[in-house]
């Protein structure tokens, strides 16, 4: 991958130019489908865009010193990391990529969570600190399963290169691993029943309590980009390899949409769990899943 294709992927497709409208669209689909399940009309199509523009136009509170600088930097870092993660997705076949880009993608997907944890602590708000602590506990819990599932896919197919993974024929192990990843995504995206860190009304707004105006707009955007990146990762790994690139891209879009709808149904149908229940769920119930996955991946590797 040379510099031009890398920049084109980061800035145009599937990077910022595609991902930002997609992020708003996903956020709208989530809110609208929850509204329709509750038999109401719900927000207009452009709602996330209006929210973003409005937040950009608000006067931010004055911040000084190193804390103020950090509070402005965290949301930008989160947006950059999420956009980079989207840019790495191998949506188009033969789009380049490099050996080990799966590891970079995982690191970039983790960065927004780490930014949120740091943001809550550097805001100095009590509710921010509670939210950050919850986010940290949640990250440690679901990431075991999330990372083991992805590593087991990569290990069973002998490559850490996303494009190669997307093109290899899928094994039953991969679908099992995708199921494990799907279980982790609600926690990663902070939607019900795992909306613990930003638990609205319960601990004000969690780590983002002190953020306002353009900073909050960046947080909203990074949240939307996280949606695109995680849903896109599942979609790329699940889509069978097709030689017609436009057909592949269409399947990718449809599958992403279906996953967003599935997550919205889950969010609308459940209530928020307590933190200890959530941790127990990930450490006791889904860890078995992860152990089965990684051991069968190693077994496949030894046998082949």
């Amino acid at each position: 991958m040379n510099l031009t294709t890398a920049l084109a992927r980061l800035l145009i497709f599937p990077g910022l130019l595609f991902a930002v409208p997609a992020a708003w669209f996903f956020l709208w689909v989530e809110r609208k489908s929850v509204a329709m399940m509750q038999q109401r009309i719900g927000p207009p199509f452009m709602q996330p865009f209006f929210d973003f523009i409005k937040l950009l136009g608000k006067t931010p509170p004055g911040r000084s010193g190193i804390d103020g600088l950090l509070m402005r930097a965290w949301p930008l870092l989160a947006v950059a990391a999420a956009a980079g993660a989207v840019g790495l997705l191998p949506v188009l076949p033969s789009s380049g990529g490099f050996a080990g880009d799966l590891i970079l993608l995982l690191a970039l997907l983790e960065l927004p969570s780490i930014c949120i944890i740091a943001a809550g602590f550097s805001s100095g708000s009590l509710f921010g600190e509670i939210g950050s602590a919850r986010e940290a506990v949640l990250t440690v819990s679901y990431n075991i399963v999330f990372l083991l599932a992805i590593v087991s896919i990569a290990a069973s197919q002998h490559t850490f290169r996303l494009e190669a993974l997307a093109q290899l024929p899928a094994s039953p192990l991969r679908y099992l691993a995708l199921l494990a990843i799907l279980v982790c995504i609600p926690a990663k995206l902070h939607i019900n029943p795992f909306s613990l860190p930003n638990a609205e009304q319960e601990i004000y707004s969690g780590p983002l309590t002190e953020y306002a105006g353009p900073e909050l707009a960046m947080w909203e955007l990074s949240h939307g980009l996280e949606w695109v990146a995680t849903v896109g990762l599942v979609a790329t790994l699940a889509v069978p390899h097709i030689t017609l690139w436009w057909f592949g891209a269409a399947i990718f879009v449809v599958l992403s949409f279906a996953i967003v709808l599935l997550l919205s149904v889950l969010a609308a149908a459940t209530a928020r769990l307590a933190i200890d229940t959530t941790v127990r769920f990930y450490w006791q119930c889904t860890l078995v899943f992860a152990v089965v996955l990684i051991s069968s991946a190693l077994f496949m590797r030894v046998r082949s």
Binding site: A35, D51, G57, L216
Partner: protein
Amino acid sequence: MNLWNRLMCYSRRHSPWLFHMNTGSCNGCDIELVASLTPRYDAEQLGVRLEGSPRHADILCITGPVTRTSVQAVRTVYGQVCGPKAVVAIGSCPATTNVFIDSRVLAGPLNRHVPVDVFVPGCPPRPDAILQGVAKAAEILAERGNHPLADQEKQP
């Protein structure tokens, strides 16, 4: 007005985020405000979102007759909301202190402490009335955004 300002004005009108504050209300207006956000009245059509933090909000919804102990809290929360902002006083209590008038524990009505843009009278007001008040406040907010100095002039 150039294109960006027009877009900003439109966005402000279509995305009012609320922060709900109780200053000693009997809870009657509070449940009516919550009712206006429920599926039956569906405030989300107007882009309304109930926010947990005053930092995120555009419109401050205040209920209650403003007791002496809550005056400082009202001022603090009003200061925390980033401009442009609007205040909606829900119910008769913040407008006139209602049946609690002349009580020694009150420091109301509300407009002695913060500038109020929309009064929604009623004891309690109906959810439709609250939604109308919020929509009106969103229009005021959108206009105010183009004249940022108007905020400071109104300070009591």
